[in-house]
């Protein structure tokens, strides 16, 4: 078989795999949406909850600036922009992740995880992707509206370069956020504890504020634990402030994804089923 044929076959295989996963995501989304509409009251209350959450965050940010015009290099609207970017990252991640990090310990304990392992699909993908929370679309809309409002207040008109940089850094932030969450959730194979995932989300909530308002040591810590890439760096790109860290975000994202997947495959090797 010559190299052209091999390359052609490899490309075909890649496209087939990608289209298979896209069809699977569409199917899961469709059935998740139908399941969400079964409980209409819950569906409506969740939308109301997302709106309330956003209003409370705006209230808190305005309270910080009640006695001052700036905190560090940030004014109220730019801090609101950071919050909007954080919210958009969380909403997008949770759209595809749903509550899988929290339900994983129970599945492992009860033995139901075997049914995920036996599927003819990538285990890491299916473990954290077999459910979709479609109501996060409303969160996406609300947080996009916040970003739009903050941009208008700031009279932002980013160049093509900064817009492209924002897209890349935002995409990187999604990968980093998901990788951190799935890495900690993977510890469930040993700990059987969902509280660690809850603790992770609490720590990740710090990124709803710009992390460079803190002392240099804390900012450095949040760079090595790559939290600064989740919202502060993408927001800075949108504000036209490209830094060295902006260009570093994509390599950090790839590294975090690699570590997350390798750790997961290591954890699977130590899994022993609980079912009979």
């Amino acid at each position: 078989m010559d190299s052209n044929t091999t390359a052609h076959m490899a490309t075909n295989h890649l496209f087939t795999t990608i289209s298979k996963y896209i069809r699977l995501i569409i199917t899961i989304t469709k059935y998740s949406y139908m399941a969400a509409l079964e409980y209409r009251f819950q569906f409506v209350v969740r939308i109301f909850r997302h709106i309330t959450e956003a209003l409370i965050a705006i209230l808190i940010i305005n309270t910080f600036f009640y006695s001052t015009n700036t905190i560090g290099n940030w004014d109220p609207n730019s801090m609101l922009l950071v919050y909007g970017v954080f919210g958009l990252a969380v909403a997008t991640t949770f759209f595809f992740l749903a509550d899988t990090p929290f339900s994983l310990p129970d599945k492992i304990r009860s033995g139901d995880y075997d049914f995920i392992l036996t599927k003819p699909i990538d285990t890491h993908f299916y473990t954290f992707g077999h459910r979709i929370h479609t109501e996060n679309v409303w969160r996406l809309i609300i947080k996009s509206a916040i970003i739009f409002y903050a941009s208008v207040q700031l009279h932002l008109s980013p160049s093509i370069f900064h817009l492209t940089l924002f897209v890349f850094t935002f995409f990187s932030s999604l990968i980093i956020y998901r990788s951190i969450v799935t890495t900690i959730a993977t510890l469930s194979f040993w700990t059987l504890s969902k509280e660690l995932s809850e603790l992770t989300f609490s720590v990740l909530e710090t990124t709803k504020y710009p992390l460079d308002i803190f002392s240099k040591n804390i900012t450095l810590l949040f760079t090595f634990i790559p939290l600064i890439f989740i919202s502060t760096i993408p927001a800075k790109a949108l504000l036209g402030q490209a830094t060295f860290l902006s260009y570093l975000s994509f390599p950090v994202a790839l590294l975090s994804l690699y570590v997350s997947r390798q750790f997961f495959h290591f954890a699977i090797k130590s899994y022993s089923s609980a079912s009979s």
Binding site: F41, I56, I60, E195
Partner: protein, 265 residues
């Protein structure tokens, strides 16, 4: 005496259950520190750029007290009772020869006892880190009022959460109720924004919601230099809320039981 023995019995069961999963318990306790320490750090940064009603020492004192007060007044009945109504386990509770609140109080006190003991090493660590900035002057009367405020805050929270749980009889949904009430509680309890640092409109809303008694009111009793008329007014409002929630809960429980479908388990 019998209700007390029952409460201690359920508290003991949940103490042992919780002790089985020590790592989860440890993560849970650390989780309770993250929010207050983050808000404390941010307010300290804000204080560097403006003059606030609280100085650095008062901000640190406030948020360290928040960690303890929020844990001591916390209740989880909306999710506990709501979930048991939703999946039918409530049927087992209502056939017992005592009110379901006896079991729920025992459960809550058991979880609270664990938190209380795990707060001790945290208190030692925080004292070592912040003892230069921690400023409280305790008198006997202030200490008594603080304990009363804590008990009042816990009682209001307990009946408030149980009243919400009763809505599950009709709504068949507890998770979103719990999440919504937690959001409101976070915003208006003083967990995130101290009353003294809040804008006037926010203060006027916060002063008359029940959430203030979960965190802010007990801390105000301690931090204020003198016991003022405002403290006694606060206690009066708190007692009114307690009576209201008690009455509403009883009505909802009575009507909810008639409506209860006893989902299969």
């Amino acid at each position: 005496m019998k209700p007390l023995r029952l409460i201690l019995h359920w508290a003991n069961i949940h103490w042992q259950l919780f002790s089985e999963y020590r790592l989860g318990a440890f993560a849970w306790i650390i989780n309770g520190l993250v929010g207050p320490l983050l808000m404390m750090t941010i307010w300290l940064v804000v204080a560097q750029h403006s003059s606030l009603a609280y100085n650095r020492s008062q901000i640190i004192t406030y948020y360290i007290l928040t960690i303890f007060v929020s844990r001591l007044t916390q209740a989880w009945s909306t999710s506990h009772v709501g979930r048991s109504i939703r999946d039918g386990r409530f049927s087992r509770t209502i056939i017992q020869p005592y009110h379901y609140l006896v079991e729920e109080l025992g459960t809550t006190l058991g979880l609270k006892a664990i938190r209380f003991f795990t707060l001790i090493p945290i208190a030692v660590i925080l004292y070592c880190l912040f003892h230069h900035d921690f400023s409280i002057t305790f008198s006997t009367s202030k200490l008594c009022l603080f304990i009363l405020a804590l008990l009042l805050g816990f009682a209001i929270n307990f009946y408030y959460r149980n009243t919400l749980a009763m809505l599950v009889f009709w709504l068949e949904e507890y998770y979103s109720l719990d999440a919504l009430s937690s959001l409101a509680s976070q915003a208006f309890s003083g967990n995130l924004i101290p009353l003294a640092l809040a804008p006037p409109l926010f203060v006027s809303v916060m002063k008359y919601t029940p959430f203030r008694f979960f965190v802010s009111f007990p801390i105000e009793v301690v931090i204020n230099q003198t016991i003022t008329l405002q403290a006694f007014q606060g206690f009066s409002v708190g007692i009114i809320y307690l009576v209201v929630f008690l009455c509403v809960h009883q009505v909802l429980y009575h009507h909810g039981l008639k409506h209860y479908g006893a989902y299969g388990n």
